[in-house]
Amino acid sequence: MKQLRRSKINWAPYIFISPFFVLFCVFGIYPILYSITTSFFDWKLIGTSAPKFVGLGNYINVLTIDPFFWKALLNTVVLLIFGSLLQHFIAIPLAILINSHAIKRKEFFKTTFFLPYITSTVSVVIIFGMLFDTNYGLVNWIISLFSDGENIRWMQEASGIKIVLSIILNWKFIGWNMVIYLAGLQAIPYELYEAAMIDGASTFRKHISITLPQLLPIIFFGVALSIIGGMQVFEEPFILTGGYDNLGGAENSGLTAAYYLMFTAFKAYRLGKGSAIAWLLFLVIIILNGINRKVTQKLQG
């Protein structure tokens, strides 16, 4: 009887959807669980010495005596604010502008603003490095037209590195956020604007009272993506400051949490400590997104 019941199960749908679950388990769940395990071991990536269980040792090391972790985290938060979050104040007005009837050839502008996002990060950073070069850079040349001072050492000074990185991040992701907000704007019912118009509301008033409140879920989504991406920023500072050999350049100013994570795991070859940093970073991202959610909920009333 049991066998008969079993034979009635239609396996076909399960088999059809199984490739995703198999791949997700192998390449998603398994590495995540493995990295949790790894974080409890003193595990050197090279050599034949066996991993040694150290419990929370790696976490304690990172949080208490490590000379770079807190610096890297602070750098990441600064870049998150100036490189990833402030750009929303540019992306939203830009999306409103492109969404307005006054702008023709919308597709052209959408494509143009989106292009930096799909451009190779390596190429972008190398070109920005040239633009901000002390002696030969275009930026210093332009500044020299208006000022007689010494050339700014953008990539050699701690503050210069952060400014250049913030500019790169803004340049690269404003278009991306703009497209997200554009999609959100198109979902706002036009009747709301018509009603406001009848009430005699100005354009600015309409956007403050209709656009922004209606866009809040999208802003939450965009900011959440920025937090996740911003806290994991790696390629830009890594290439701009010369890779593992320089650890973020002057005063480790370009050293981000993900950069330090990679350094620890793949340059210092301490896989356990690297995994611990990854999980701490994950926790920070969760906390920041929690704050984002609370703020959004409060604004939504």
Binding site: I65, Y136, Y244, K267, A268
Partner: protein, 425 residues
Amino acid sequence: MKPTRLLVILLITILAFGAVSCAKEADSAATFDPTVPYTVTIGAYGDLEKAYSAVFASADFKAKFPNVTIQFQTSDFGGHHNRLTTVLAANEQANDIEALEVGFIAQFVETGGLTDLNAAPFNAKKVSGDIVKFAMANATTTKDNLIAMPVDIAPAVLFYREDLARNAGANLDNLASWDEYIEVMKKLADPANGVYAIEHPAAVQAIPLNGGKGGWMDNGKPLEPKAKFLDALKLVQKVKAANVDGDLGAWSGPWSQAYLDGKVATIVNGAWFGGTLRTWLSPEPGKWRVAYLPGKMMASLGGTYLSIPATTPEDRKLVAWEIIKYLTTSSNAQLITFREIDAFPALTSVYKDPVMDEDVAFYGGQKVRKIFADVALNIPENKVTEYDNVILSIWNGSVTAVVNGTSTPEEAYDEALTKVKATIF
């Protein structure tokens, strides 16, 4: 014949036969068979493939190894070492032979993953007598295991533009000290015409530290002896204060352009940099000369090693070893490699070859190879450790702090030491 005696004779015969066949088996396992066709894979970086391909195309190699075919897996410098590290960490099979730059060899010296070439059947000691001692020491563990054979080294010298030196009335040959070098650089620098005496103040810091290749720890203590490291930072500070540098980041676009424009008068670097000048940065012959480092300091700035990963099957290790032996201990291979990519031979017997005494047209007919060879023979031994790369990264931050004037040499040293201790212990 008594049955017992017959049994004893039979037993002795069987044992003797067994011993002979065992010996034969052991012998065959320990010998490279020139009649069996082999394909050997080599993991390489940069232009090593170019040099070794020329070696393998030579008549001498073909006559000695008619049965060996070589396949390369070449990547860029970083990509090659990342791949190798990952493959060895995963205990997966790598190429039969893997090239390693001296900066990376330290990571494998005490941590395993590569075959001990001093052990039988390789017995590297029997053939490595003529290889420069410091390079052999770098690849030897505290247990006397040899994890790779040095194939080329980079004796450090001072390259300078003869035309710029002549115009400035500066003499860069036989500089007695770094202070004298700085004084000469002041003559060479010509800000009005955009001529820099040196690319960057940080370019000199590595020289007193043997190019950052080893010597970072002394008996387990990082950045000791303190005076050596402090002197390196003070030197950086002096060069910066002299205001003779171009503030050019090595290998950046503006850096290469400055060389192409003939705006950099001197550079301290390994012999291999001559190849970079000749083929890329300053191809016009006759412009550059070579001098000893100030104070006739002897240092090495790079070098390549060839290793056999532990995961390589035993039978392939034998043929891999024969190829490594040929590349590292045959004059033919060493000279071809030098000619092709300016990688200076690690094999000292080659230094007596007439080619070392030849005038080199690129250096205006100067016999530069004699200088390279003299430096090579006098480079001191520096112990490498698995922490070298991490210490170097932290150290570079301290050098930048001194260049930027945000720290004094003493402060920068103390900060580096604190960070190194907290990171590696």
